[in-house]
């Protein structure tokens, strides 16, 4: 009876010494239900990232080097018009679906059409206009410039086979039990305990990967994921590891590695600019000057997770370097309590003992809030609280639950809060989330898209528009310089750390991982570029 068991094969593999043939990938995303729909953000395929092993995009984007053009993938050439409203694509020959059928331009048109027609699937809200094909060429036009979203349009839309998807009644709710994609892997088994992908035998348009089997596990949370990483049960993951040196690296110093490259998406302290006296940029600047980012980096972010932002422009090291305006090149944050005090007294504030009083003589106090479960933010707030006390601002840390916090932040009912910005291939997303006047809503109305601090600057709004619609590099540069100037001088949000797309991995069985020296792809297993990593892996000697 055992021979026909679905588990027999898996076990036999292990028993036959092929154990080394697989790679265990874990994510702390708790339980999953079987859903291999690559378009749905909450499907298990998306949550764990295996959708990118089965389905591929037209081009691959390396988050860690956002200024680089996308690497042609299913499209062998990607050409944008100068106004970024039209893209011309040449679809690669030789790519086949895992059921053997060839991948054609029609499949690409079908996929983009599918997204255009289904609002529910258009998660990037891309304004498609026309999608046409001719031979192996595809042309897509848009109603607005796609400069800031090019990586999404090309790099984050999985191409699906028309011959299968055209028969699916509702592509938004279908769970795609047997996914057929163009990628090197096919789904072998799906179980609550783990999902196994196996390498295709043939038909892949590149060299087949060395890793014959990918085993995905979803752990209930960070702690269980970490335990699995530390014990070697998980070989690749993206998770916050407190004191990673001791809890992870030290368990196997030769093989356990952490890599955390920053990307163009940041975390910082949003300040409610409508509240007095925080509507005063001078006060915000002074606050910015006393925040000890190094402490936060080491104590709250375990020295790696949200790489410390050093540039005063709020752009992360590495990924952001190319975008920093000349004016701010080399200008970095440093804790300067005295400078802050001078600034404040110059602006009419008084420091009465260790209480800061505003112009009207009222003590300056602020409430910092973030949901309790986010312990890195909480730690950050504790440190900020401590830092602010140096210039006499009494801060109180509140821990509303997540729903309440969410609602309050959107409605503008908060003092200051740690939150993230959107991320993208340019600094646009960062600045937009913080300063875009178009996203601003009156206090009490939910601002869902950004500008939670109600920062009011028509200049910034205009610069944002100019940047995204520009047709030449020079005007982009000017617009970006304006944005940076406003961001630095007005300090609508105090940048703290950046997102990373790194990984915790083990070189025990597999080598060839991306690293600082060779950051050829994002390290995070759920990113579209994860496929590049898997394809690059080689068995350890």
């Amino acid at each position: 009876a055992c021979s026909d068991s679905p588990n027999a094969a898996n076990k036999d593999n292990a028993a036959n010494g092929k154990a080394a043939g697989f790679l265990s990938i874990g994510m702390p995303n708790s339980t999953q239900t079987e859903n291999n729909n690559p378009f749905i953000g909450s499907s298990s395929a998306s949550n764990l990232g295996y959708r990118w092993m089965i389905y591929e995009p037209l081009g691959q984007w390396n988050n860690t080097k956002p200024d680089q053009p996308l690497k042609p993938w299913l499209a062998s050439s990607i050409t944008w018009s100068a106004d970024w409203k039209t893209v011309d694509l040449v679809i690669r020959d030789g790519a086949t679906w895992s059921d053997g059928k060839p991948l054609t331009a029609e499949d690409v048109v079908f996929t983009y059409d599918l997204i255009k027609k289904n609002e529910a699937l258009n998660i990037f809200a891309i304004p498609f206009d026309a999608i046409t094909s001719e031979g192996n060429k595809v042309k897509i036009t848009f109603t607005s410039s796609q400069f800031t979203t090019q990586h999404k349009v090309i790099g984050q839309i999985p191409i699906v086979p028309k011959h299968i998807w055209s028969t699916i009644a509702d592509p938004a709710t279908d769970t795609i039990k047997t996914p057929v994609g163009s990628g090197p892997y096919v789904l072998k088994t799906w179980a609550q305990t783990g999902i196994i992908l196996e390498s295709r035998e043939s038909g892949y348009w590149q060299e087949l990967p060395k890793v014959k089997e990918l085993r995905y596990t979803s752990y209930s949370g960070n702690d269980t994921q970490l335990t699995a990483l530390a014990s070697g049960q998980s070989e690749w993951s993206f998770v916050f590891i407190p004191d990673y040196q001791q809890t992870f690296i030290a368990k196997d110093p030769a093989n356990h590695k952490i890599w955390a490259p920053g990307v163009l998406g940041i975390h910082g302290l949003y300040i409610n600019t409508t509240r007095k006296p925080f509507d005063d940029p001078k006060l915000r600047q002074a606050m910015n000057m006393v925040i000890n980012r190094a402490d936060i980096f080491t104590q709250a972010e375990a020295g790696y997770f949200h790489p410390e932002i050093k540039s005063v422009t709020g752009l992360p090291e590495g990924a952001g370097d190319a975008y920093i305006a000349d004016e701010y090149k080399g200008k970095t944050f440093s804790v300067d309590v005295e400078g802050a005090k001078t600034l404040l007294t110059g602006a009419g504030y008084t420091l009465d003992g260790n209480v800061l009083k505003d112009k009207s003589g009222a003590p300056v106090t602020i409430k910092l809030s973030d949901p309790a479960p986010w312990s890195d933010y909480q730690t950050t707030l504790e440190i900020i609280k401590d830092n602010l006390s140096k210039i006499g601002i009494a801060a109180e840390v509140e821990k509303p639950n997540q729903n309440v916090w969410d609602t309050n932040v959107q409605k503008g009912d908060f003092g200051a809060t740690m939150r993230w910005t959107n991320g993208g291939s340019t600094p646009f997303d960062i600045y937009q989330t913080v300063m875009d006047g178009d996203l601003k809503k009156p206090i009490g109305t939910a601002a869902q898209q950004g500008n939670f601090g109600r920062f009011d600057s028509p200049e910034a709004t205009a610069a944002l528009k100019a940047y995204s619609n520009a047709t030449d590099e020079a005007s982009r540069k000017t617009a970006l310089a304006t944005l940076q100037k406003i961001f630095v001088e007005q300090a609508p949000m105090l940048p703290i750390g950046s997102d990373n797309v790194g990984a915790a991995y083990s070189t025990k069985k597999w080598v060839g991982w991306p690293s600082d020296a060779d950051s050829y792809a994002p390290g995070q297993p759920t990113q579209a570029g994860a496929l590049m990593v898997v394809l690059a892996l080689k068995p350890a000697a």
Binding site: P371, P400, N401, V404
Partner: protein
């Protein structure tokens, strides 16, 4: 959480126990109240609880550090400065534990009091009034019994803007009365049929007086046990809520400590001092409360009380184990205990030679 399995419920079938007089202690004017304290379990439990309450009151004053203040020593093990080490921010775990006691005790007691008051009002009314009122109140408590308490508490606290201690305590109190109400109703039903309740009515007492002065005093043990049970439940719930980060409580409690410790992977970083003390504090408090509950059980049911004394010492220092069904035999000599011998003849007025004494009894 498992359901509270205090055996109080099980005592109900026995009924009589509660009203039964103390056997074998008629002469002593020692009141029943103090008798409770002579129970070793009760004494131990109360002493420990007393210490906790004391700490809850003075904890914040005697704490050597501000529990939230960052210090220079990060993640240090126990030392003379920091008895229980420090956190990743250099906060003093010992101070956090001390300061956290207040919140734990506060929530436990407020929730216990709220739940107890509700359960008494609902349970006793249902049991005493009977009829439709009983049916309605019983249905109410059953609905509350069916709804899973902890998830409900989680939802309700997340509805609240800023779920502070008071809110958490009230929510726990308002959601955890039903079990006790059921127990109380059953007890009241059995008490209501007691002669002394009928007798009080027959004397002409008003209903509210019958309930308050005749019924309630006889329910004290059940109420107390329900209270203690709810306190345990409330403490565990509060800590659980804090641990999974549901409550927004800005004050310290042991759950908060565990939350931080877990979030920072204290154990994986070998910082046991951060994780272990709070857990032990909970366990010891829980044990103390359970001991009090055992003692109440024993107090209520004399059978359980005497069950404790299974070994007795003879005068000669030998210990004998008691067994049901096989009474121990200390000696089978046919000699009389009292060494009494007959005295030949006694004339009614005469004086007799006294030769016997009672052997020590």
């Amino acid at each position: 959480m498992t359901i509270p399995t205090s055996s109080i419920e099980q005592v109900i079938p026995g009924q009589g126990s509660m009203a039964q007089p103390e056997p074998g202690k008629p002469g002593k004017a020692k009141r029943r109240k103090f008798l409770f304290l002579s129970n070793r379990k009760a004494a131990a439990g109360l002493v420990v609880l007393g210490i906790y309450i004391l700490l809850a009151i003075i904890g914040p004053w005697i704490a050597p550090f501000d529990p939230g203040a960052r210090g220079p020593d990060l993640m240090q093990g126990p030392s003379a400065d920091h008895w229980m080490g420090t956190t990743h921010l250099g906060q003093d775990v010992y101070s956090q534990l001390l300061v956290g006691t207040r919140s734990v005790i506060f929530v436990g007691f407020v929730a216990g009091i709220v739940a107890t008051i509700l359960s008494v009002i609902i349970g006793v009314t249902a049991g005493y009034v009977g009829g439709k009122t009983d049916e309605a109140l019983s249905a109410l408590s059953n609905v509350f019994l069916v709804i899973p308490a902890l998830p409900l508490i989680i939802i309700v606290t997340s509805i609240m803007e800023n779920a502070g201690e008071m809110v958490v305590a009230l929510v726990i109190g308002f959601t955890s009365w039903s079990w006790n109400a059921r127990v109380l109703r059953a007890q009241t039903l059995s008490l209501r049929r007691r002669d002394y309740v009928e007798a009080a009515r027959a004397t002409g007492e008003r209903s509210w007086r019958v309930i308050i002065f005749e019924l309630l005093p006889n329910l004290t043990a059940v109420i107390a046990s329900g209270f203690v049970g709810t306190v345990i439940f409330a403490v565990l719930s509060e800590i659980t809520l804090a641990f999974i980060g549901i409550t927004s409580s800005n004050t310290w409690n042991w759950g908060t400590i565990l939350f931080w410790a877990q979030g920072q992977q204290a154990l994986a970083r070998s910082a046991w001092w951060w994780f272990v003390p709070a857990g032990l504090a909970i366990a010891i408090l829980g044990t103390a409360l359970s001991l009090i509950n055992f003692a109440i059980d024993e107090f209520v049911s004399p059978r359980l009380r005497s069950a404790g004394k299974t070994k007795i010492k003879t005068n000669s220092g030998r210990t004998v184990r008691m067994r049901i069904g096989f009474t121990p035999v200390l000696s089978n000599s046919p000699e009389p205990h009292t060494h009494a011998r007959p005295i030949p003849a006694v004339d009614h007025n005469g004086v007799t030679a006294v030769v016997r004494e009672e052997a020590a009894s």
